[in-house]
């Protein structure tokens, strides 16, 4: 199986790649992982991962700067229905639009927009930074075998914005930070996590392992 991790100048791909290698080793599943900025490599991959740190508008601009990448994503994920995982801003980009640094269009794969998180408790710090548990809203194969809820495993978050899906069915999990904050969304063959699976130790490796076995 081949996994393409899209490299569009948005930070720490190294640890994402290593986490995928570790998960595939534990599955004893031969895997080729490619960090790539080549749209044809994305077309040829069995699974696609879009990481992303920084601001929505910058990430969007970085991706659009690669000629043909958005088209390659549309073809492989939307048309050919291959499994896709967006991480952090890579997940937010699936929305219709983002509001960080002005209004910026997203891919429009998930209805809704990316808005600032607004905790009910004004003493809570922004960014939401650190380890938090997740609450499952709709079951999803990527969360199989992962204990969720207050006593569940923790995921690592660092963000000030989150994707608010317009269709409740696209919301897979939330996390509590002065009210519900979107932790994971999914539809069809694409899923995205606001938290960083590649930094989330046990929960993260399990989720990546589930992604590698996901047959939507």
């Amino acid at each position: 199986m081949s996994v393409a991790i899209i490299d569009y100048g948005s930070g720490n791909l190294h640890s994402a790649a290593k986490a995928f290698e570790r998960a595939s080793a534990e599955l004893a599943k031969p895997l080729s992982i490619e960090l790539t900025r080549d749209p044809d490599a994305v077309r040829g991959a069995d699974r696609i991962v879009l990481p992303g740190v920084g601001a929505f508008a910058d990430c969007r601009a970085g991706l659009m700067a690669i000629d043909g990448m958005l088209e390659a994503l549309e073809e492989t994920v939307r048309a050919a229905q291959r499994p896709f995982l967006g991480i952090c801003v890579g997940m937010q980009l699936m929305a219709e639009r983002g509001l960080e640094h002005g209004l910026t269009p997203g891919f429009g794969w998930i209805g809704g927009e990316v808005q600032p998180i607004a905790p009910g408790d004004p003493d809570l710090k922004i960014p939401h930074m650190g380890w938090n548990t997740i609450q499952m809203v709709n079951q999803h194969p990527l969360l199989a075998g992962i204990p969720t809820g207050d006593d569940g495993l923790h995921a690592y978050f660092v963000h000030s914005y989150h994707l608010l899906p317009s269709d409740e069915r696209d919301l897979v999990a939330t996390t509590d930070y002065g009210g519900p904050v979107t932790a994971m969304v999914a539809r069809d063959t694409f899923a995205g996590t606001q938290f960083h699976p590649e930094k989330s130790q046990k929960l993260g490796l399990k989720l990546i392992s589930n992604f590698l076995q996901w047959a939507p």
């Binding site: 640890s15 207050d150 690592y156």
Partner: protein
């Protein structure tokens, strides 16, 4: 619910851990990658490397250390020490650091904080503030920023500076009391709460931890979002697990995943 973070900090010089880490049997107590891996397994919430390499020729050793650590540890890593340019930040992030901490350079050139934050996002820019009390008894309390490991006074008010760097795009403040650093007498709680209450971003309390109660005080009384300590963990006085269980028993929300 968001959990309080416990962050061990390793001083790294020329690619080696200064003073070593003795809390578990490591093949090489001076190997930062081995120490990081042990802390990862022990349940640390994040890890911090402070590069104190002085010689210019060895400046690049930290990139190797960060890269090897990021390959083995699936936990957040902050790296600081000698970060002076956008290029330094980029190289550390590319090597696998999740956050980069800026200290002296933020004081000398505040525009650097804004530039780095715009380029890489506020979430990965930590400003490390070394503060010392400068007011005498009976005077209104004041802390000022010191640079160069606490030796150089700047005359800058610590609270004003914290507000400024947050407005410029710092996503987190790593606050060290130079009065308490190395004393094991506990955090400077008045300083910690003054800064934590003045800014909207998370504050990591640092400097002076000698007991597990000190960690509790930093969060409960100092309003810090995270606590950083070095020697109490490195020398095996307390394990990360003991620290977190103690803090949980005191009513703080902690991550105790097995």
């Amino acid at each position: 619910m968001l959990k309080v973070r416990v962050i061990p900090c390793l001083d790294v010089k020329d690619g080696r851990v200064v003073k070593g880490v003795n809390f578990v049997d490591l093949r090489d107590a001076g190997d930062p990658v081995e120490a990081a891996t042990a802390y990862d397994a022990a349940g640390a919430d994040e890890l911090c490397f402070l590069d104190i390499t002085a010689s210019h020729e060895n400046r690049d050793t930290i990139f190797d250390v960060v890269q090897q650590t990021a390959e083995r540890c699936f936990m957040p890593l902050t790296v600081g020490g000698g970060v002076r340019s956008v290029d330094d930040v980029r190289k550390l992030l590319e090597a696998g650091a999740d956050k980069v901490s800026i200290n002296t350079a933020a004081v000398a050139n505040r525009a650097f904080v804004a530039e780095a934050s715009e380029k890489f996002g506020a979430q990965c820019i930590v400003v490390a503030i070394d503060a010392k009390k400068v007011s005498g008894d009976g005077e209104p309390v004041q802390w000022q920023i010191f640079t160069h490991g606490g030796r150089e006074p700047t005359g800058i008010d610590a609270i004003d500076f914290a507000r400024d760097v947050v407005a410029l795009g710092a996503g987190e403040i790593l606050l060290t009391s130079m009065d308490r650093d190395g004393t094991r007498a506990g955090f400077d709680i008045a300083l910690t709460s003054a800064i934590a209450d003045a800014v909207s971003v998370p504050v990591i309390a640092s400097g002076g931890v000698g007991t597990l109660d000190h960690l509790v005080e930093g969060v409960r009384d100092g309003h810090a979002s995270a606590v950083l300590a070095a020697s109490i963990f490195h020398f095996g006085d307390y394990s990360i697990r003991q620290a977190k269980e103690h803090m949980a028993a005191a009513g703080l929300a902690m991550r105790l995943d097995r």
